[in-house]
């Protein structure tokens, strides 16, 4: 696992990527609940560089959000517990730093925006105050200056008439505008990494397009790395450079979006691509992935995808050490620049 962690897809250079900023190595997170141990993240590793957009694609219960919350240090523990791994930001392992120190590093360095902008904003303060708060808390800026900066930021995220709206309250904004306010808050301290957790899931498609455009432009201007957590293959395709596909708390495939989506090497990715209808053509019958996403309290043995996998091989038909029901497939290099966690990736890849 650790060898895989450091090797960023090295095939055709990802669009505009620079030096690595954030490195997550073999991260594991558990939840202790009444009904037993829930393994939400099981050895996840990835690297995000300057100007890179890394999409983390997964369904509910894949652990995609939990890994991001671990990076942000906002996991509720208990019940959550980071059992192993490193989160290296600008050369320092956040998990070994004392809490106070962690906060000083994360605060300005890594920001996060959430799916539900309304519940992430405090309804009793004006948006200008909440954006300005970032400057007052971290930089000790004066109240007046902070408001000035808030207006600038609102301009930057293209909220019309920012000067007039700076004193408005969150409920006076539409969903798309609230998401912009949250982006403005996240950008206040010029973060090196922005984590966007399903930023457009609650928005309509026309507004989603506006917000994704904005994020792309902001990234180009600031050079920050963007971690985009989503379940939407279309958004990943249109916005991201690289993609890590998660299933049952593991990364099952990783590479550039063009390659992973163009020629999947894991049956799960392949199944996802086949199962969604297209807007361009009517197409024939959909080809769903059978079964249900796994219960993280009872992840199947061997390859977690094996109960749903059309290419599952077990017993006599499996090669030694590559029995899908008993042997856990490691995330391994399939072709240069592409990793997948499947014993039989080469077959999927060719298909």
């Amino acid at each position: 696992m650790s060898t895989a962690s450091t090797s960023l897809p090295s095939g055709p250079a990802p669009r505009g990527a620079g030096a690595p900023v954030l490195e997550v190595d073999d991260l594991r997170v558990q939840f202790r609940t009444d009904s037993g141990l829930v393994n939400a993240v099981n050895g996840v590793s990835y690297t995000v560089s300057e100007r890179e957009t890394l999409a983390i694609l997964g369904e509910s219960g894949s652990g995609k959000s939990v890994s991001a919350q671990a990076i942000m240090g906002i996991l509720d523990s208990p019940p959550a517990e980071i059992t192993s791994g490193r989160i290296v930001f600008e050369g320092r392992d956040l998990l070994t730093l004392p809490e106070e120190e962690q906060r000083k590093v994360r605060g300005p360095g890594i920001s996060m925006i959430f799916q539900d902008a309304l519940s992430s904003l405090n309804p009793v303060y004006s948006v200008g105050f909440q954006i300005g708060e970032m400057f007052r808390a971290h930089r000790g800026t004066s109240r007046k200056e902070a408001k000035q900066k808030a207006v600038e930021l609102m301009d930057r995220v293209r909220i019309p008439a920012a000067k007039q709206r700076v004193d408005d309250y969150p409920h006076q904004f539409s969903g798309g505008m609230r998401q912009r306010v949250m982006i403005a808050m996240a950008l206040a301290l010029d973060p090196r990494i922005l984590i966007a957790d399903e930023p457009t899931t609650a928005l309509d498609v026309t507004v989603q397009a506006q917000v994704m455009d904005l994020l792309k432009d902001l990234q180009r201007d600031t050079g920050m790395g963007l971690i985009l957590i989503t379940h939407d293959l279309g958004v990943v395709n249109e916005v991201a450079d690289n993609v890590a596909v998660m299933y049952a708390g593991r990364i099952v495939e990783r590479g550039t979006v063009d390659e992973v989506f163009g020629n999947p090497a894991h049956p799960y990715t392949d199944g996802l691509m086949r199962s969604i209808p297209q807007v361009e053509v009517k197409g024939g019958r959909l080809q769903p992935i059978g079964g249900q996403p796994p219960n993280l309290a009872a992840i199947p043995s061997g390859c977690p995808f094996n109960p749903r996998c059309p290419r599952r091989r077990t017993g006599a038909e499996a090669a030694t050490g590559r029995d899908c029901v008993t042997d856990v497939p490691p995330l391994r290099l399939v072709v240069p620049g592409r990793e997948a966690a499947c014993h039989y990736s080469e077959e999927v890849f060719g298909a």
Binding site: T206, Q208, G234
Partner: protein
């Protein structure tokens, strides 16, 4: 719908379902449009806005639905797309008689539903069923799956005699892809996709002619959505159902629908077959909507025309005069503010509600 059909297809799942599935694959998407089942004429729903607690007075109206016309024929699927707040959910509620229209007619087999009561209304409700969006909120947590599915038979006792109900419940569960042994389990023991199947079985139990599907897959995981879409298609073929399919996901709507209507701020702006609406959209809003849908194929990225709409949807409490879309439209002229455009064919081969309608291919076709 004959009684026996649900029983026989479930009794022999291996053979029967196989055949049904292969038939389904062969017969789609060609449908022979049958007679008109459901016709909506100039449907309106205005919710009063009130002020004051003791002395309530009406200060205005939210025009949630403002003049919608729709036709649903036997055996076909009509898709209704629109963004949040466009009024599509209110249309659903009126269609299944959960909400009374302010004005307009809903004609079912020629009879006006808005004037129905008593026995006629009960019969209508049996024939027109609904599937809800949220599989977590739409099942009573204190009832077993078996009770949920069979509840319709307690209301409409003539459908299934008391004796064989358990068996028929299990057949229905089998038909929608649930393990019939789970008949005594409770909803929270199932995943989202399975719960949606329970909701589908509940609707099917009444042997309806029409099922109104209110965003039936949008709350489900991507990998499960296709399972439910396929199930809906199979059931349509087996039982000759007609669907009104309401969703905001344009790809799913295109996949399942024979005809598509696009809604914006309480009224329909464009209507036609899926090929007409998606292939040569004539209304600027449809064009913008289609251009905003992210494509998931890398080789199609960037081929699509980009139309970025500015601003937000205006409030339905105070909609713009004339054309509802004019505040965000790049084609808007003086006439758009004064004259609401009618939903008619202006030479594009299908009706659209724009004074300056003009067919334009937005999504790339391979």
């Amino acid at each position: 719908m004959p009684d026996a059909s649900s029983g026989s297809s479930a009794a022999d799942p291996s053979g029967e379902v196989d055949r049904a599935l292969s038939e389904a694959a062969a017969s789609r998407p060609v449908h022979t449009p049958g007679d008109v089942l459901l016709e909506v004429r100039d449907l309106k729903k205005h919710f009063p806005l009130t002020q004051g607690i003791v002395l309530r007075r009406t200060v205005g109206h939210v025009r949630a639905v403002d003049g919608v016309n729709l036709t649903l024929r036997r055996g076909e699927t009509v898709g209704l797309v629109g963004e949040s707040g466009c009024g599509k959910s209110t249309v659903t509620k009126m269609l299944v008689a959960l909400e009374k229209p302010t004005s307009g007619q809903i004609l079912y087999k020629g009879e006006d539903v808005t004037k129905m009561s008593g026995r006629a209304l009960k019969q209508y409700r049996r024939e027109v069923q609904i599937i809800f969006q949220d599989p977590y909120a739409s099942l009573n947590p204190r009832m077993t799956v078996g009770d949920i599915v069979a509840e319709g038979w307690s209301v409409h006792a003539d459908i299934a005699p008391k004796k064989g109900r358990l068996q028929r419940t299990q057949e229905l569960m089998e038909r929608v892809g649930l393990n019939p042994d789970f008949v005594n389990r409770y909803p929270h023991q199932f995943s989202g996709g399975q719960r949606q199947r329970i909701g589908i079985a509940r609707a099917l139990a009444l042997q309806p002619e029409v099922i109104v599907c209110d965003e039936p897959v949008s709350a489900l995981d991507v990998s499960v959505q296709a399972q439910v879409v396929n199930l809906l298609e199979d059931l349509q073929n087996d039982f000759g159902l007609s669907y009104l399919f309401i969703a905001h996901d344009l790809s799913v709507v295109r996949h399942i629908s024979d005809r598509v209507a696009v809604m914006y701020l309480g009224s329909i702006v464009e209507e036609g077959t899926d090929a007409q609406v998606y292939g040569s959209p004539a209304h600027p809003y449809t064009q913008a909507l289609l251009s905003s849908v992210p494509v998931h194929e890398p080789h199609l990225r960037g081929l699509k025309e980009r139309i970025l709409l500015q601003g937000d949807v205006p409030s339905p409490a105070n909609p713009p005069s004339g054309c509802r879309f004019r505040t965000r439209c790049w084609k808007a002229q003086d006439i758009c503010a004064t004259e609401p455009p009618a939903l008619v064919d202006r030479g594009q081969g299908h009706p659209s509600a724009c004074h300056f309608a003009e067919a334009r291919a937005v999504v790339p076709t391979e």
